[in-house]
Structures are given as C-alpha cells and as structure tokens.
C-alpha cells in the first residue's frame, strides 16, 4: 500500500480536514477558567532558596489555610530554640515510626523533640476550666498557665489550642510577643542572671578606667 505514490499525502490531507471540523481545545484563559476537579489535591512541596536552605519558616500559614487540614508539620521556631507543631497528634511526623517514614520517603523526625518531657496536663485543664475555654481570654489563660507551670510548655500550649479551638500558631504568636511569657523554665534565665551577677561589676570597672584616662584623652 505504501508503494502507491501520494497515498501518504492523501491520508495526511484527510487527517487535517478531519481535524478542521473537530472541536477545539483552546481555553480563552482570562475569560474562561477550567473548573478545578472536586478531588483535585495538588502537590505540596517545600521550596529552597538560592543557598540551598529551606524557605519554610514554620509559620503554619499554609496549614491554617488548608481547607481539609491535610498539612501536618513540625520544626524549630524562627529563633531556632523551640520545637513547634501543627496537626492532629497522630499525624505528627515526629510521632511516626522512623523506619516507616524512611520507607515512605518523608523527612525523618528531629530527635531534638525527645528532650521535651511530658507535663502534667491536669494543671492546664484546671486553668482552662477556670477561664471557660474562652479563646478571647487567651492572655489571661497564658498568664495563668505560666503561673501554674512556671513557664509555657509546648504540650500545654497544644492542649490550650485543642480545647479552646484557637490555632496553635496564634497562641504561639501571642505567647512569643509578650516579654514576660517564656517557653522554658525560669531556671534557665535565672542561671544566666546568676552568671551575670558573678561577673565583676562592669560599671565600676568602666568608671575606674575613665578615671585613669582622665586628663589624657
């Protein structure tokens, strides 16, 4: 058949003529937008900057915006001091078995989380009961929680978030804004104050230095 000259041309012409009458695939984008399929989920991806570090600052905004709450995440806060979380407890990456995570290709949890000890939840529950689980009185709740524990444990903040319904990121943001609220036991800061107290009185040293330079500068 292929030896017949011009047959290929004729078949090509028939194809293009057929295409000519077929419905067109162009979508006039700004005026017409395709409907997103109901089950469309997209693909979540963390981006890296030009230095190869993750751009994610663990701000939880994506997790807050997610309509179906499929995002769970954990990481260090922006000062690199505290471990913060988003998501239902059973979906924490950190709570999963490490080998299972490796097999699934997900990031392996940060062992640093292990140093966070369990705290007595009853005390924060009592505080929440006293303030009627009202997220509008968050500052009072946080003050009372700090008074109960001496600081704001992560587990207590998670408990407040779950019970009041306020997003964890908002509680964390509010707690990190006020200088008198702290996320670590007072001993840590007290130790730093004690070290500072043991140092030679810097002010008197500087005053003596100035006196020695008097008239020569």
């Amino acid at each position: 058949m292929s030896l017949v000259p011009g047959l290929g041309i004729a078949r090509g012409m028939a194809l293009t003529l057929h295409r000519f009458f077929e419905p067109k695939v162009t979508i006039k984008y700004p005026e017409v937008r395709l409907d997103v399929p109901h089950k469309f989920r997209g693909r979540l991806q963390l981006l890296y900057d030009e230095y190869g570090t993750l751009k994610c600052e663990t701000c939880f905004q994506c997790a807050q915006a997610c309509p179906i709450e499929c995002i769970d995440m954990g990481g260090m806060d922006t000062r690199g001091r505290y471990h913060v979380h988003w998501g239902a407890p059973e979906t924490y990456g950190e709570r999963r078995e490490e080998s299972a995570l490796r097999r699934s290709g997900r990031p392996v949890p940060d062992p640093a989380y292990l140093r966070f000890a369990a705290v007595d939840i009853a005390r924060v529950d009592a505080v929440l009961e006293e303030y009627d689980h009202d997220p509008a009185r968050m500052l009072e709740i946080l003050d009372a929680t700090q008074a109960a524990y001496g600081y704001l444990p992560v587990a207590a903040l998670k408990r407040i978030s779950h019970r009041t319904g306020a997003p964890y990121a908002m509680i964390y943001g509010a707690a990190s804004y006020y200088a008198h609220l702290r996320f670590e036991p007072a001993e840590a800061t007290e130790q730093a104050a004690a070290v500072l107290a043991h140092r030679p009185a810097e002010a008197s040293y500087l005053a003596a230095f100035d006196a020695a330079l008097e008239g020569r500068a």
Binding site: I9, G12, L17, R19, F20
Partner: protein
C-alpha cells in the same frame, strides 16, 4: 494685530498647516469646478478617443487596489484555517472572529523602521520589493474575472502571464544581491534556482492545453469551457492540471516547496535584511501570488467564470422595466415593505407567546429586508451575467486558496536536493509526456 498673532501662536503645528492649506484647498476646488465646466466636454471626448488608455489606467488601478484586501483575506484565512487544523481557535480578538488581525499586522509592518543596511545598494535594495510585487500584480491584468471583466484580452495572454510572472525572480535576485549580506545572497540564489526550475514544468504543463484550445487568450480558453462542467479542461488534461498545481505551489513559494523563506528554519532567505513596509511588499506579493496561481488554475482547468451547469431559467434583465408600472411603482414602494414586514412578523407572533408584539415586528422587518435582498441578489445573479461570473470565479479561486492553505497545514517541507530532483527528474518528463500524448491524440483524431 496682537490678537491675530496670539491666535496663530496658539495653533499646533498640524493646525497651522491646515489653516494655511484651507484657502489653498478652496481655490483648488473652485479651479477644479471651473476646469470641469470649461474643459469637461473636451476631456470626455479625449477619453472616448483614447478608450484603450483609459481602460488600462482603470484596470491597473483597480487591480492594484484589489490586491490589498485579497492579501489581507488570504493571510487571515491562513492563520484561521491552519489554527483550526491544529485544533486551536486562531485569531479571535480584532474584529469579528479576528478577521481584522491581518489589517493590524499590516499597520504594524507600516510602523516599523524602514532599515537599509550599511553597504547595501540603496537603489536596487529599494526597488527589489517593488519589482517582486508588481510582477505579481501585473499578471492579474490578463485574468478574466467575469464576462467583460478583464484588464486586456491579449491573444498572447498566457505567454504574457508566464513572462511577467518570471520577472519576480529578478526581484528576488535584486533583494539578495543588494542586501550586502552573504546569507541574503545565498537565499536569493536558492529562491531563483527554485523558481526558475519550476517555471519550466509549469509552462510545459499548459502547452498541451494550448494545443487543445488552439489559443493562448485566456478569455477564449474560458469561453471554450462553457456549458456543463464536463467541458472543463481538467477532464481532458488531468496530468497537466496535476503538474500545474504542483509547480504552481513551488512557483508561489508555498509548502511543501517554501524553502525560499522557510520561516521555521532560516532567517527569511533573501528578505533577511528587509524590514518595515519593504518586507511587507515581499509578504504581500507571496499571498497575492497564491491568489493569482489559484485564479489561473481555475481559468485554465476549472472553467473560469463559467457555472458548472447551464442556468436553466435565464432572465433578461432588459425586459424587466419597473418604470412601466408608472404611478403603481410609487404605490408599490409604499405598500410592499409594510405588507412584507407584517407577513414575516405574523408567524413570529403566532409561534411563541413569549415574543412581544414589537419584537415580532422588528424580526419581521429584518426578515423582510433579508428576503428583498435575496430576491435582488437572485435577479442580479440570474440576469446580470458578470455578477454570476464574478461569484463563480471568486468562489472557485478561493476553493483553491483553501487547498493551498490546507496543504500548508498538512505537509512537511522538502529538502533542497529533493526539490530539484523532483522538478527535473519527475515533473519535467511528466510534462513532456503530457505534451506528446496530447499532441498525438490531436494528430490521430483530426
């Protein structure tokens, strides 16, 4: 004095020009009227005495003006049809269904810088697009568009057509040579090689037809094919028509033979250094060539302006004399439009209770107008032979324009060696075979 000078200083530059030119224009208009009044009769006598000169001037102007919308239309057809064949929508923004896009393209080309490269020969460089364009346009002078609608009925029309069409090679070579650019020169030489090679089978393919028709006058060739479509020359010269179409595609630089400016591969060949409207003329000439080649194919092989069947009910328009109705004509003008409007509005009114009375009247008015226009068009078609002829000629020509665009949407480009091989090893022997067989048949039958 100060008021006048202040007013003058407040005019913009165009305002000053117009203010100065207006009295001049008035004087010229009065002069023209006086001149027509005094010399009008003399001028009419002069024109009547030199009717051939007047005819030439009118035909040349008409054809030059006609090429521009033709090129616009074919460029639009090409964009739209190839888009549809690619399952795209194509142009749809400017004008109805994007039909004004080629006009916008033309304006864009007009506004671009008209650049002449350093070292180029400015005279030859400037005249090359003119030669190419005029070679295309001048061939239209001998094509019969309709009975009585042709520039000149030469008895050597076909020879004239190929001779003038061959001039376009000169334009291509001028463009390549004057650009002072070795790539342009190579492109021009390649274009010349292609066009000259394909001119030989193109010309030889119609020699058999000339033997059959016994004339080279295109008008006579068309009148020879009148009557039923079976008298078209395609049925007596099928091989000639095939060779003609292939060689014509190469002659008009169309796919699959568009190597002269293969826009997806090379930098426009001979037109590399051209920009602005000079490039626009090459571009225009290409699309005018498509129309010319289609028109010549229709003229030679597909009956020209003849309908494919004889019209069974000829109406003699001269017998229709509306003036004989006298005062009845005035009465008809008064009565027929409202009656027709009511007649067409009634079914709309009856059809659906949702159509309001004024809507039905409006629709009836529109339908009545369409009906009257259709009747007038039908009378013009049946009674005025050049209307029917022009419609058939343009319709057939644009069918072939569609075929050329269709080919472009389908076929890939040939290689340069395949191009030359095909012209010299296949088309030329086939054209000679066609010529000898036709000649032998004529000798045997007479």
């Amino acid at each position: 004095m100060t008021a006048i000078s202040r007013s003058w200083s407040r005019l913009t530059l165009p305002g000053k020009v117009i203010f100065t030119a207006l009295p001049l224009l008035a004087v010229l208009t009065v002069g023209l009227v006086v001149a027509v009044a005094l010399l009008g009769g003399l001028l009419v006598d002069l024109a009547a005495a030199n009717l051939e000169v007047v005819r030439f001037l009118v035909a040349a102007t008409a054809i030059l003006v006609m090429t521009i919308p033709t090129a616009f239309l074919i460029i639009y057809m090409e964009m739209k049809i190839i888009a549809q064949m690619n399952l795209r929508i194509g142009p749809d923004r400017v004008g109805p269904a994007g039909s004004a896009l080629s006009v916008v393209h033309g304006l864009k080309v007009l506004m671009k810088e008209d650049f002449t490269p350093t070292g180029a020969d400015p005279i030859v460089f400037t005249w090359a697009p003119v030669v190419t364009y005029l070679a295309a346009v001048m061939t239209l002078l001998v094509i019969p568009f309709a009975p009585g609608f042709f520039g000149q009925d030469l008895n050597l029309a076909l020879l004239y057509f190929f001779a003038i069409g061959g001039l376009s090679v000169v334009g291509l070579l001028m463009a390549g040579w004057a650009s002072y650019n070795k790539y342009s020169l190579l492109g021009g030489l390649r274009a010349a090689a292609q066009v000259v090679s394909y001119e030989i089978p193109l010309t030889l393919s119609v020699v058999g037809l000339i033997l059959l028709a016994g004339t080279m006058s295109l008008n006579t060739i068309v009148t020879n094919q009148s009557g039923w479509f079976t008298s078209w020359y395609i049925f007596r010269q099928p091989l000639g028509a095939l060779i003609f179409m292939i060689a014509a595609a190469a002659e008009a630089n169309r796919t699959p033979f568009d190597l002269t400016e293969a826009d997806s591969e090379i930098v426009a060949g001979f037109a590399t250094e051209y920009s602005g409207m000079r490039f626009g003329f090459f571009f225009f000439a290409e699309y005018v060539n498509v129309f010319i080649v289609s028109a010549l194919a229709v003229t030679l092989f597909f009956g020209g302006w003849n309908a494919p069947f004889p019209w069974p009910w000829p109406i003699d328009v001269s017998q229709l004399d509306p003036g004989s109705l006298g005062i009845g004509l005035l009465f008809a003008f008064l009565v027929i439009p409202p009656l027709l409007t009511l007649a067409f509005a009634a079914p709309l009114w009856v059809a659906s209770s949702r159509i309001k009375g004024w809507q039905a009247l409006l629709g009836g008015f529109a339908l009545a107008n369409l009906f009257l226009i259709a009747i007038l068009a039908a009378i013009a078609y049946a009674g005025i032979d050049w209307v029917a002829g022009l419609l058939w000629f343009l319709g057939k020509s644009y069918v072939f324009v569609f075929v050329f665009v269709w080919l472009r949407g389908t076929l890939p480009r040939v290689r340069v060696d395949q191009l030359m091989d095909f012209a010299w090893k296949w088309l030329l022997p086939a054209a000679l075979l066609n010529l000898f067989v036709t000649a032998a048949a004529i000798v045997i039958t007479t």
